[in-house]
């Protein structure tokens, strides 16, 4: 983890959250919110506007966020269905080494066509080949799949644990709060990246041998991905929990919580119906921004040789392999680097857009 984390959760409560502040609110106009229903007028045909719907409407007007969302959807589709389509578009290739082989072979991310090393894009290899004659596009799609799967896995754990612990710590305080506070202290002082490096470095070979037979996640050098995801989740959830805790404390002070208690709602019901729904926006924003960190984290670990192993593919691994030949074949390093940059930027822009859309201060 680098310092990106702390944009979501400032280390000190004195730091203003990094929201894009729009024009200062004009002093006397705040009381009259637009859309207020005049009592004297009769019912009008208009759909009720929930705060969520209003936020989404604002998001839709944010070109940058919508383009980013488009990019993300495209990359997800590419990683899921891309290989299937790609392999059915190529014909038979008469390989000097392997004889005639179909595209389902030479357009896989692990097939080495040693007579075709370090090529630039061509009709057969749309994005060229790497130093072992492997299809860069195929490896790229596999790398994207790895990035996105890790991101999804980590965010599921991150959000679940973050909300669970954060809400309990914020709502009830007590020992859970104390433990969380100490835990985040350590996480802040113990650089996350170092922890992940340690965990994957120490248990990596164990994972290679033990997990490689597990279906789906095991083969093709992906055995360490579960470990990497676990490590990433382990360092990210306490920060999410801290953020949720802070927000819970704020919501708890709102009078509608007191009102719910007066209405006879139990603690469980208050948490479930009043607190968690109101955490929605902040968690969505934090998770979106955290996906960038997760993707970078996985790529960093693979880059250092501690994540996905050969013959597997990951954007980080691709960059690492190609960076040795940066002076002779810059193309090979540019492709995964730019893809990674675009993916990460898209999540950051989307996160920024979501934050603006949810922040009532930017309300028009």
């Amino acid at each position: 983890m680098d310092m990106r984390d702390r944009e979501i959760q400032p280390a000190s409560p004195l730091i203003a959250p990094d929201t894009n502040l729009m024009v200062p609110a004009e002093p006397e106009l705040l009381v009259e919110t637009p859309g207020v229903i005049p009592e004297t007028e009769g019912p009008k045909e208009r759909k009720p506007v929930s705060p969520l719907r209003e936020s989404l409407r604002r998001l839709r007007r944010d070109t940058r966020a919508m383009v980013s969302l488009g990019v993300i959807i495209f990359m997800v589709l590419l990683s899921l269905f891309g290989p299937f389509v790609y392999q059915h578009l190529g014909g038979i290739y008469d390989s000097p080494d392997n004889g005639p082989i179909p595209a389902t072979v030479y357009r896989t991310f692990y097939h080495q066509e040693l007579s075709r090393q370090d090529e630039l894009p061509s009709a057969q290899y749309w994005l060229g080949t790497d130093d072992l004659g492997r299809d860069i596009l195929a490896r790229l799609m596999q790398g994207l799949l790895v990035s996105i799967s890790v991101a999804v896995l980590v965010e599921v754990i991150d959000i679940t644990m973050g909300i669970l612990v954060g809400v309990l710590a914020g709502y009830f305080g007590g020992w859970i709060d104390q433990v969380l506070a100490r835990l985040t202290d350590i996480i802040f002082a113990f650089p996350g990246l170092l922890f992940i490096i340690l965990l994957t470095g120490i248990f990596g070979t164990w994972a290679d041998t033990t997990l490689s037979n597990v279906p789906i996640v095991g083969p093709n050098g992906n055995a360490r991905l579960l470990l990497v995801s676990a490590a990433l989740a382990l360092v990210s959830w306490p920060l999410m929990a801290r953020l949720v805790r802070g927000q819970t404390l704020q919501i708890k002070e709102q009078q509608f919580i007191e009102a719910a208690r007066t209405a006879g709602s139990s603690n469980f019901k208050i948490i479930w119906r009043h607190i968690i729904p109101n955490l929605f926006s902040i968690v969505v924003v934090a998770a979106t921004l955290d996906i960038s960190n997760t993707i970078i984290g996985e790529a960093s670990i693979s880059l250092l040789g501690l994540g996905v192993q050969q013959p597997g593919s990951s954007l980080g691994l691709m960059i690492s392999e190609a960076s040795n030949a940066v002076d002779t074949h810059p193309w090979e390093v540019l492709v995964p680097s730019l893809t990674l940059a675009i993916l990460v930027l898209a999540f950051s822009f989307l996160g920024d857009g979501l934050r603006d859309a949810f922040d009532p201060r930017t309300k028009d």
Binding site: V31, E32, T33, G35, V36, I37, E39, P43, P48, V49, S50, P51, L52, Q254, Q255, F256, E258, A259, A260, R261, T262, A263, G264, S265, S266, K269, H274, P277, N278
Partner: protein
């Protein structure tokens, strides 16, 4: 003496709420080991009886503990000490589940028309929440009750699916009132219900509260800092200063003949919208600020600002005693 007097009024059976020796102290943590280093004595020994069907006004300046008193009576804040009885049932010792059941009888109207409604609930869901908690009918019946409640507070039931942010402050306050009424409570604490509203809207809500009281036989504890409003709506008024009640009397009487120096100063400070009256009035301008409730002055805690203060005021805390019929005051030199 005063205690006995109050006790007898309980015996007549007209008392709905009885508060005795209520204290709410908040700890201030600090130091090396996060120990409690001081106490904020927000409420420091309050005795009150609220009669069935009356409106008892509770006034005081910010930080005097009036809102905390209201919340402690409803057990929204756990009192540090003292007893609160509603209909003769001791609330402070009820287990949580029992207390939740009791909430149907006592409700609250909140100050902040923006913060007191969950922004993600529709108006219908907000008002239905207490009804659902207490299983007052099936979905259809609850819907009907919600529609009826909206009409009762003067809102069109057509808006039942709207969200709070689509309403103005006054309308939101009406929604809050409808929610408080949903369970047909006997006792309502209204915590500064009009102070966040514009003056022209305040009157609408004040009138509504009065109408509802007549219609449903409600008992109000009306907490506010605006003495004019409190006097207008209340049968009796209690004046608080630094966590204690310094004077309690029928509202007319309190205004005409205040006995406690603080009440006198407070009343004289309130501007009257009449230049003739203003020109004639003599103001008592108090010196200095309200002391911190962490370290209240010893004895009568008003003595540092009081022009009548004697040695005894600095040493002995005056008790709230009945100086005239139904007129209680905590002062060594009242009048």
């Amino acid at each position: 003496m005063a205690q006995q007097q109050m006790a007898t009024s309980t015996a007549t059976g007209t008392t709905l709420v009885e508060v005795k020796g209520l204290k709410v102290h908040f700890p201030i943590k600090g130091g090396l080991f996060n120990r409690t280093i001081a106490q904020v004595k927000a409420v420091d020994g309050v005795d009150l009886t609220i009669r069935r069907g009356e409106t008892l006004g509770l006034v005081g300046e910010s930080g005097c503990g009036k809102s905390t008193t209201g919340r402690a009576i409803l057990q929204l804040i756990k009192p540090t000490a003292g007893s609160v009885k509603l209909n003769g049932v001791e609330l402070t010792k009820l287990p949580p589940a029992e207390l939740r059941k009791k909430r149907a009888e006592m409700q609250m109207i909140f100050q902040d028309p923006f913060g007191s409604l969950d922004p993600r609930f529709t108006v219908g869901q907000i008002i239905a929440e207490p009804l659902e908690n207490f299983k007052r009918g099936n979905a259809r019946e609850i819907r009907e009750q919600v529609a009826h409640l909206l009409e009762v507070v003067g809102l069109n039931p057509y808006y039942v699916n709207r969200f709070p942010h689509e309403f103005s402050g006054g309308q939101r306050q009406r929604i809050g009132i409808a929610r408080a009424l949903a369970l047909r409570p006997s006792f309502i604490v209204a915590d500064e219900p009009v102070s966040a509203l514009d003056v022209s809207i305040q009157a609408q809500v004040v009138n509504l509260l009065q109408d509802l009281q007549a219609e449903f036989g409600l008992t109000y504890l009306f907490v506010a800092h605006n003495l004019s409003v409190v006097k207008h709506i209340s049968d009796r008024v209690a004046v608080m200063y630094l966590g204690r009640i310094v004077e309690l009397a029928a509202s007319e009487k309190l205004y005409e003949l205040p006995l406690h120096p603080y009440t006198q100063a407070l009343l004289s400070a309130i501007p009257v919208p009449d230049p003739e009256v203003e020109a004639r009035r003599k103001r008592i301008i108090l010196e200095g600020d309200v002391p911190s409730p962490v370290n209240p002055p010893p004895g009568c805690n008003f003595h540092p600002r009081c022009w009548k203060a004697q040695q005894i005021c600095r040493e002995v805390t005056p008790l709230l005693e009945e100086k005239e019929r139904d007129h209680y005051v905590a002062c060594h030199f009242p009048g």
